[in-house]
């Protein structure tokens, strides 16, 4: 038999727990963050495929990207990669000879592929990234320049 007073106690306890639960799940969001790095990093690839940017504190294995690009995932075939972080926080990665630029976002200890941007079917021989105001510029050592966002080639 639930008395009126017991009902009131349970009612208060329920409201308290609900408030507590609601407060614990609230998220703090900071908007308009500019993640852009002023300059690309040129990272050497170790024999086991690891690349490390000591200055920026970034370290990962390049073999999955190499496999995606060339189909070779067991042994390292590239010597260096170029990487730059865009304004929205995406990482743009390319290596000499790649046909594509790989766009990753950082998430919980992972780099998750967001987009693969096709640049040249024959591969880009001497790629280099430049940070621009709202996009990443990819140049290839010739007179060509490609303006990139995480969504693809910019119109």
């Amino acid at each position: 038999m639930i008395t009126k007073s017991k009902f009131r106690i349970f009612g208060n306890l329920f409201v308290g727990l609900a408030l507590l639960f609601t407060g614990a799940c609230a998220t703090l969001t900071i908007t308009d963050v500019d993640f852009s790095e002023p300059m690309e990093s040129v990272l050497e690839v170790s024999s086991n495929g690891m690349v490390q940017d000591v200055e920026k504190g970034l370290k990962f294995n390049i073999l999955p990207i190499q496999q995606e690009e060339t189909g070779e995932g067991n042994r390292v075939t590239i010597e260096e990669i170029r990487i730059i972080r865009g304004q929205k926080g995406h990482y743009f990665i390319i290596a000499p000879g790649f046909k594509n630029v790989y766009v990753f976002s950082a998430n919980n200890g992972e780099l998750v592929l967001d987009n693969t941007i096709k640049i040249d079917e024959n591969g880009v021989a001497n790629p280099a990234f430049n940070q621009r105001d709202t996009y990443i510029q990819l140049i290839d050592g010739t007179s060509r320049a490609f303006n990139l966002t995480h969504e693809g080639l910019r119109n």
Partner: protein
């Protein structure tokens, strides 16, 4: 024509689409940064290897052009190099180059001072050598004339003039050495810079001339033993001036010449100057003693300034004591003999050099002058008139006494 060319250029550019640009070849930002870093590193390296002010100036031109070279990328470079900027990086480099330029300029200036000094020393040293040869020639002529018992006064005067001229050259040489080295501001130089200045100096030129001056003087003294006391004293004052200069300069050169051999040579020159001093010291006192003995003034033997002063005082004290017992013609003649040497030689000809060389002071001369004056008063013989008056008085007294006695006898009778 150019309008058509421009039109086609724009058309071709548009043909690549909006995402592909085909203006001038694009440049990688990281390449720009690498080029900038290389330019700065090259300039830094160049600063370290600058060897002349001219090199420093051309490097400063290169440094000053760096901001213009990267003017299109200044904002990017400032961001990449934060907290540094292109301006601060170039300014630091410019400051370093200017400091280096100033240091080299100072070293070059010191080197120029030394070069001027060396030229001056060389010229004066040649003049001293010429003067020595002239002296030797005149001395031989004088000796021949003396042997022929036909002393040529004009030749003797020429010799004396040439000797004085030679001494003036040496004193000018000393002044040049002293003034030039005074300009070498060693205190403002680091040990490494001192070594650099020392490398600029030609040790044979600097040390060689100084050593040759000393050797020439010692040689001159050994071969010209018959000079007058005045000549010897003048040479003594030259040596004293040279020693004063070297006492100042030698320590500065020791600081400059960190090299062991050169330091040893500086010490060796100090010893040579002391040896020169001993030689001239012996010659001077022998000559001065001879000057007194030739005039038959017998003084205690002396071989230094102190013993000369003591001998003079002793001689005068003895003379004064003797004169106190009574002046006489003989005593007065002795006084005149001494006063002649003292006034005509010592005071009129030697005093200047004795004081310049630090052998005697003005106070010494005043003290001796007082003794000489006292001796003069005491040495004078008593006057003949006084003796005559005294004799006449005695005669009168005797005459009066005889007259008085006669008168008294007559009265008794």
């Amino acid at each position: 024509m150019s309008a058509i060319k421009k039109f086609f250029t724009v058309l071709i550019a548009l043909s690549f689409g909006l995402s592909v640009q085909s203006f001038a070849q694009f440049q990688s930002d990281s390449e720009v940064k690498r080029n900038f870093d290389r330019d700065i590193a090259d300039a830094n390296q160049a600063v370290r290897t600058i060897q002349s002010v001219a090199q420093a100036d051309s490097l400063l031109d290169v440094i000053n052009n760096i901001p213009a070279k990267y003017s299109d990328n200044t904002s990017f470079l400032d961001r990449v190099m934060h907290p540094n900027t292109v301006r601060s990086t170039v300014q630091n480099l410019r400051d370093l180059a200017q400091v280096t330029r100033e240091r080299i300029r100072r070293i070059e200036q010191q080197g120029e001072n030394v070069t001027v000094l060396e030229q001056r020393i060389s010229e004066l040293s040649d003049s001293v050598s010429d003067s020595n040869e002239e002296l030797q020639r005149l001395r031989e002529q004088l000796n021949q004339a003396t042997r022929a018992r036909n002393v040529n006064a004009a030749r003797a005067r020429d010799f004396s003039d040439a000797l004085r001229e030679r001494d003036e050259f040496i004193l000018q040489l000393i002044d040049s050495v002293f003034v030039a080295y005074s300009r070498v501001d060693l205190a403002s130089l680091s040990a490494a810079e001192r070594r650099q200045v020392a490398l600029e100096l030609d040790p044979e030129n600097v040390f060689g001339h100084i050593e040759s001056v000393i050797a020439n003087n010692v040689d001159f003294l050994n071969t010209h033993t018959q000079l007058s006391s005045e000549d010897f004293l003048r040479l003594y004052s030259v040596q004293a001036e040279f020693k004063r200069m070297w006492d100042n300069l030698g320590s500065r050169l020791s600081e400059l010449y960190v090299d062991t051999d050169r330091s040893a040579r500086v010490r060796a020159i100090s010893r040579e100057i002391d040896g020169w001093g001993s030689t001239i010291d012996n010659a001077v006192w022998q000559s001065v003693a001879a000057s007194f003995s030739q005039r038959e003034i017998e003084m205690q033997s002396f071989s230094s300034a102190a013993s000369f002063n003591a001998a003079l005082n002793s001689f005068l004290n003895t003379a004064i004591e003797r004169a106190r017992e009574g002046g006489s013609e003989e005593e007065y003649a002795r006084y005149q003999q001494f006063a002649n040497v003292w006034n005509n030689d010592v005071k009129s000809s030697w005093q200047e050099y004795l004081i310049d060389a630090g052998l005697m002071s003005y106070r010494d001369f005043v003290a001796i002058d007082q003794q000489v004056s006292e001796w003069k008063v005491l040495a004078q013989p008593q006057s003949y008139a006084f003796m005559i008056y005294l004799g006449l008085a005695l005669v009168i007294i005797i005459v009066l006494t005889i007259l008085y006695l006669k008168e008294k006898g007559r009265a008794k009778a």
